[in-house]
Assembly symmetry: C2
């Protein structure tokens, strides 16, 4: 009997995960996305991946969550801002014994998922991609993914290992960890420095890293995040500064996802990045004035789109 | 013999000062501006003021600083970013015995002026206006102005009083103070909260004050500025929060001048606002992480206009 996996949110990252898994003979993939255009294209022509891997996968895709059978695993890949409505629509798919893994940005998504499903897996993923057109996703970077049990739901580690085995066999690079918080916070702290600064200054990642004032602000934000992680007893998985430098030396002018959101006037993930760091800072008594200020500024910028009186 | 006064920088504020003074029979006004369009319009049709006062004044206007005779007073009203080139071009006008008064935003302008002229007057002004067309300025608010000797040049207080008397007789509201730093820092701290937040979020003043996250950021920035002023031994001239509230309850959707600069892609005055507070904070050992961060972000935004690689 095949392992059934539901991809919740079929943007670039969800598509990359779903298409890879769909190549396995022992896996049946159901992709859920609110976009009818995307699900129709996948149903009609399959899901095409180009770049770091080139193939077209056949999988079930739908915008009607009630049409999806019970699944063994869920992989949630929506924007953090859509986690709650996405899991509200799909929670019935995940019965006792199944586990739902977040591969989203920021922290706080697992807490939301755990309000709707019994077992949650904490995930942090570095692959990057972009939607070329409905049904076709550019696979820009085949980065690593770390997954581990979400502590409060006591998810069995055997399920984490099973999901990691499937993903690795499908061509992705996944590490199962007993404690995946270090990897998540390392990416969180990286994102919470580069994303809001890019969004507020309109600078692409390399320029913001090399320009002395914004480069110094990256480091000041990172230092606050590290202090909060330390207070939480989380050992980081490497130095967030190394991620900043690695990104800055990549070719091209990469715009942080939050800058892309700002340009498109989409609500950003700042609540799950700087907002989360500042909130954890308050809970642990660690000062985070800069993360709070960047959160305030991005919220203000979003507010400006409403033409407030 | 008439008192000769040179207005350096004939934008909205310089025009309001110059036109008022030109109505006095015992004053001869020379207006200097780099814009030929502005000086030609003034020469041809006079300088028209509308709003809080309505009149047209006749005065000398030129873009050729060498054509201006020696003057008893200078009033510098350029953007802070243009202080140095403006005084480099006009310093010859101000011989020993004359005094040059800054009525600009921020702090640090007097220090620049003092490198070129013997006596400097520290000024802080609240009138507001806007250029309607060359030779015609809207006089939006007839606010108060405070002037006092710039401490390092030991400017005689009698000159400060003489200039205040002329300005008051001309219809403006000016107070001569032995120590004008309190008024200047009060406006500085107000400006350094509302201006960069408006510039980065695109929110008009009232909206940014009323939106809880940005309103809280205003207060956090103000608290840092107050701590620096206290360390410098400066007693503030009222509460900067009162200026924020007063501005927020004014009708219309007023965009902070720094937001207007950002929209027009003009270099902002952030070096003379948040940059100055953060620099004074470092010198006095007062932490100013937020003023430094806002300075870094605005510098980054300016940098983005260069399309950095």
């Amino acid at each position: 009997m095949k392992v059934k996996i539901c991809i919740v949110g079929c943007g670039a990252i969800g598509s990359i995960f779903g298409a890879h898994l769909a190549r396995l003979e022992d896996v049946e993939v159901h992709a859920y996305d609110v976009s009818k255009e995307q699900t129709c294209a996948i149903t009609e022509h399959g899901l095409r991946i180009s770049g770091a891997a080139d193939f077209t996968a056949r999988l079930h895709a739908t915008s009607d969550a009630s049409a999806i059978p019970s699944c063994d695993f869920g992989i949630v890949a929506t924007k953090s801002t859509h986690t709650r409505p996405a899991i509200e629509q799909t929670a019935h798919i995940f019965k006792t014994g199944s586990a739902v893994c977040s591969v989203q940005n920021g922290v706080g998504n697992e807490e939301i998922l755990a309000q709707y499903v019994p077992w949650v897996i904490r995930g942090t993923t570095f692959p990057a991609g972009h939607v070329i057109e409905p049904g076709h996703v550019g696979f820009d970077i085949n980065g690593d993914t770390w997954i581990g049990p979400f502590e409060p739901t006591h998810t069995p580690f055997s399920l984490v290992e099973q999901l990691a085995e499937l993903l690795n066999r499908s061509g992705l690079k996944v590490v199962a960890l007993k404690d995946a918080r270090g990897a998540q916070w390392t990416k969180l702290i990286f994102n919470a420095s580069t994303n809001p600064v890019g969004a507020l200054t309109l600078l692409h990642h390399g320029a913001a890293t090399r320009f002395a004032p914004t480069g110094a602000l990256f480091n000041a934000l990172i230092a606050e995040g590290e202090a909060v992680a330390k207070a939480l007893g989380i050992e980081l998985h490497g130095d967030p500064r190394a991620l900043v430098q690695k990104g800055a030396s990549a070719p091209g002018k990469h715009k942080a996802s939050m800058l892309q959101d700002i340009i498109a006037r989409r609500q950003t993930e700042v609540d799950f990045m700087n907002g989360a760091i500042a909130d954890w800072g308050e809970k642990t008594g660690v000062p985070t004035p800069l993360n709070r200020a960047l959160w305030q500024l991005v919220k203000g910028l979003e507010h400006s789109w409403t033409d407030p009186s």
